[in-house]
């Protein structure tokens, strides 16, 4: 009996972990928008506006182009599902949960790549100019960001000796790692990659309505109704995913790693949420300080991330040898 309760307890903990990222995602987006609006001396939409938006979109009619294929219809759900799975894998408030064994960094990168691929495919499906343009730009950014991301994974894996996120978080929350330039560089590269992947300024402007500067928005321009709701939700989850990844890898302090009591979990959860909202508030601060880049400058921006990642890997080799 106790065993079953124990199992259910663990399952519930895992469930909280899985659902928290989806439930909180619109709020996180709302916070970034609100902070950004304040920084621009505007009042901005209410914090809960993203929830209302999704609700509204869900009840609107989804308009489809005549030549839209099944890819176009399936893609939003697929993208959302894949992003959710990826986000749910990342240890947010506790390590060593029931499904922690599956939380592999490379798997997460691969899932995100799959989501991006299917969205790019959907963008080209209808055959409009903007969809194709957005898709091609998105793939260009991806082709620049992915190598940098993999180098970050290498760095972290080399330091921790594993690609399993839960173990990494448990290790990094102790002081055993020491002062590591590599990790600082990896964090730096991670921020660059995160900005590029989430279509934020200076790579992309999520609020733009000027078609020529759109990347992500151009790709999903044709979507409406529940399809658009799914894509919006997926984008929000992805933002939370990157925040969680940064928290999990670089500031895992306060995560419940040992004690399995409810109080410990509640405390860890509060810490996690606090960190999440701090990051959500910091993002627009950085964004307002920058101007959107020209497309031709992307390689320089993401090249910086790549260089930082590569340097991080090299530095590890210096100190520990091959």
């Amino acid at each position: 009996m106790a065993m079953i309760f124990g199992f259910l307890y663990e399952l519930a903990l895992q469930g909280v972990q899985m659902f928290i990222v989806v439930l909180i995602a619109p709020l996180v987006m709302g916070v970034t928008r609100k902070v950004r609006a304040h920084l621009l001396r505007r009042i901005g939409p209410p914090l809960l506006q993203p929830y209302f938006d999704i609700w509204k979109l869900m009840h609107k009619e989804a308009v489809l182009a005549h030549n839209a294929s099944w890819i176009y219809r399936v893609a939003p759900y697929f993208v959302f599902a894949v992003t959710w799975v990826a986000a749910a894998l990342i240890p947010t408030y506790a390590s060593g949960l029931l499904f922690s064994w599956s939380a592999d960094l490379i798997a997460i990168v691969a899932l995100l790549g799959t989501a991006r691929f299917s969205l790019a495919l959907a963008g080209m499906d209808v055959g409009t100019a903007f969809g194709g343009l957005g898709s091609s730009r998105e793939m260009m950014i991806a082709s620049l960001a992915e190598p940098a991301m993999l180098l970050i994974v290498f760095t972290v894996a080399l330091v921790a000796g594993t690609t399993q996120l839960s173990s990494i978080a448990a290790l990094f929350s102790t002081a055993a790692v020491g002062l590591r330039v590599s990790l600082a560089l990896a964090l730096f590269a991670m921020m660059f990659v995160g900005i590029a992947e989430n279509a934020r300024i200076p790579i992309d402007n999520p609020a733009t309505h000027l078609e020529l500067t759109m990347v992500h928005e151009a790709m999903v321009l044709e979507y409406s109704g529940r399809h658009l709701a799914m894509i919006e939700a997926a984008a929000q989850v992805k933002l939370v995913l990157y925040f969680s990844l940064i928290i999990c890898l670089f500031v895992p302090f306060g995560m419940a790693t040992g004690e399995r009591s409810l109080a410990a979990f509640a405390f860890a959860m509060a810490v996690y949420l606090a960190k999440l909202f701090v990051l959500a508030a910091l993002l627009p601060v950085g964004e307002t300080a920058l101007a959107k880049m020209r497309v031709f400058r992307y390689p320089v921006f993401l090249g910086g991330a790549f260089a930082a990642g590569a340097l991080a890997v090299f530095l590890l080799f210096v100190s520990r040898g091959f």
């Binding site: 330039v181 590599s182 031709f296 090249g303 340097l311 080799f317 210096v318 100190s319």
Partner: protein, 222 residues
């Protein structure tokens, strides 16, 4: 040697290498000068830390020289030169940013590979300092090769010299380090003086790039 001593030395030397990369990454002369000043400050901290770890008080002199001369005086003088000589504010690159960065990464890898087989007897810290120093020297060379402006070349040379001082301070009990750092400071002061007095803007050829810009009616993006 304690793990803190090692970690801090690693952090400072690694920070210098990262700043070397930033030097290559910058495309504005004033930004390059500022990054260099940061590198000099990192160097001075690193040397100061070495003097504590090795219990070598004479290294403090080197640290102070690095801080005062290269952290403040030289950058100040260079900023002044840029203003007074009205030097083109954008860094002129012989090869573009991307290839430069890739070459730089390859050079860092080369430096690590070269120093790798060094016997453990020298100590991990010595080996690591050596690898970092070599990488910084090679990146400085790369900067001197790929940047044509006299000011950026001086900075490239000074970052080479930063690497040298890092290596020299990492070599335990090396004599003459202080003297050499003084000699280098004099050398650099002379170079800066020479640039200022003779109004040297370009290195090997006298193509005035600002004239080209005026001709094309635009400034270069990078």
């Amino acid at each position: 040697m304690g793990t803190l001593a090692f970690d801090l030395a690693h952090l400072l030397a690694g920070g210098m290498l990262v700043l070397s990369f930033l030097l290559l990454y910058q495309d504005r002369i004033t930004a390059v000068i500022n990054v260099f000043a940061w590198q000099a400050i990192a160097l001075s901290l690193s040397v100061a830390w070495q003097s504590i770890v090795q219990e070598a008080p004479h290294l403090v002199a080197t640290a102070v020289i690095a801080l005062v001369v290269k952290g403040f005086l030289i950058p100040f003088a260079l900023h002044r030169i840029v203003r007074r000589l009205d030097i083109h504010r954008e860094v002129e690159q012989v090869i573009g940013g991307g290839p430069t960065m890739l070459t730089g990464l390859a050079l860092v890898a080369l430096a690590i590979l070269l120093v790798q087989p060094v016997r453990e007897a020298g100590g991990t810290l010595t080996r690591e300092d050596l690898a970092f120093a070599l990488a910084i020297i090679l990146l400085g060379l790369l900067m001197m090769i790929t940047r044509r402006n006299a000011v950026t070349q001086i900075i490239g040379f000074m970052s080479i010299e930063n690497g040298l001082i890092l290596a020299a301070s990492g070599a335990k009990g090396m004599p003459l380090v202080v003297e050499v750092s003084v000699a280098f400071s004099v050398l650099i002061a002379l170079i800066v003086f020479g640039v200022f007095v003779f109004r040297i803007r370009e290195r090997f050829d006298t193509v005035d790039v600002s004239a080209l810009d005026r001709f094309r009616g635009e400034r270069r993006e990078r």
